[in-house]
Subunit: 186 residues, 2 copies
DNA sequence: GTCTATAAATGGATAGAC
DNA sequence: GTCTATCCATTTATAGAC
């Protein structure tokens, strides 16, 4: 893997640990055994790295969704796989999802990064909404007037539980999502 | 108001705008017209200020809950008042709730601050859970096995919607909480 | 309680040699 | 592509005079 790719992969890891403002070019250089100046050669401004990380996050989501679509045996099973992956990648090793990580430093993001972040959110909401609609069609979920609001409710519950779970433990996550399941399943 | 109180009040404002790591002693000193050294005299380490801010947040929550309990005409109305206040203090003037603001910089908080934060979360969850129980008793809400999980679902939905709402607008907040209302009310 | 002065570290960024 | 060297601003924190 070339240096440029290594920088993105490593940054993605630190992004999910500490947020976009939580790691520096010095951190990157030290862990890769190169100098700060070399990192700047590949990504002159940190905003450039930020946009590359948004692309990385998009592919990260895309791969997950394709996998859940392919292996999910029902609408709820697809959501269950989403939750299992979220739990493993978050509380499992004390990291955030990349989207939450960007929101952490929202006030300091440039306008292009904010737009990329909105697109990321919509991409995730689109997938959840699609699964919710499938679940209503198949009769697995109670019919709702506003499937996108239901998708938002699901995402916020999941991410909030992961966010708080870093301090309160994973039981809170399991109990919260079990409550959600109980409310929407027929 | 004496200097020490002014420091806490001003810090609380900046905390909700930018998170705990998002403001500095220089910011405080400039806005109060004193020097950094004077700020350090009142709160030697930033962690000392952080603990004072946790106390401030506790009183902030306490006053809100007392107000909602006193004026709420039903269980749902109490939650509605909570939501209205949250919306006003968050998307209204582009601020976060103090708890979310601390979570923003979770990785950098000292252990005593993390413990204070857990206590804050529990205090908020306790109040919501109590209202959920009242609503079930009175028949306003569907009965649930785990009222604390329902309280967590409510809080995460609300805070997530506020968090995302900073980029996606307040409609997302209204739609999400309307969906929650629809799922729990009889 | 407030000030001046200062320290040591970090963060983002650039110029220019190899 | 990588390095050395450097710049400038910021952040937390302390010592000591008034």
């Amino acid at each position: 893997m070339n240096t440029k790719q290594q920088i993105v992969e490593l940054s993605a890891d630190m992004l999910r640990s500490s947020g976009f403002g939580g790691f520096s070019y010095l951190d990157i250089s030290r862990k890769l055994g190169i100098t700060k100046a070399s990192v700047h050669h590949h990504y002159p401004k940190k905003q450039d790295l930020g946009l590359a990380l948004c692309e990385w996050a998009h592919e990260w989501l895309q791969q997950g969704f394709e996998h859940f679509d392919e292996h999910g045996t029902s609408s709820w099973n697809k959501l269950e796989r989403y939750l299992r992956a979220a739990l493993k990648h978050s509380l499992g090793d004390q990291k955030m999802c990349p989207i939450s990580a960007f929101y952490n430093d929202l006030a300091k993001l440039s306008q292009p990064m904010k737009e990329a972040l909105i697109a990321l959110d919509d991409y995730e909401l689109d997938w959840i909404e699609k699964v919710m609609l499938q679940g209503m069609e198949s009769g697995d979920f109670h019919r709702q007037e506003d499937p996108r609001a239901l998708a938002a409710l699901f995402i916020f519950s999941c991410k909030g539980a992961l966010y708080y779970g870093r301090l309160h433990g994973k039981d809170l996550f399991h109990q919260t999502m079990k409550q959600f399941e109980h409310l929407i399943k027929t």
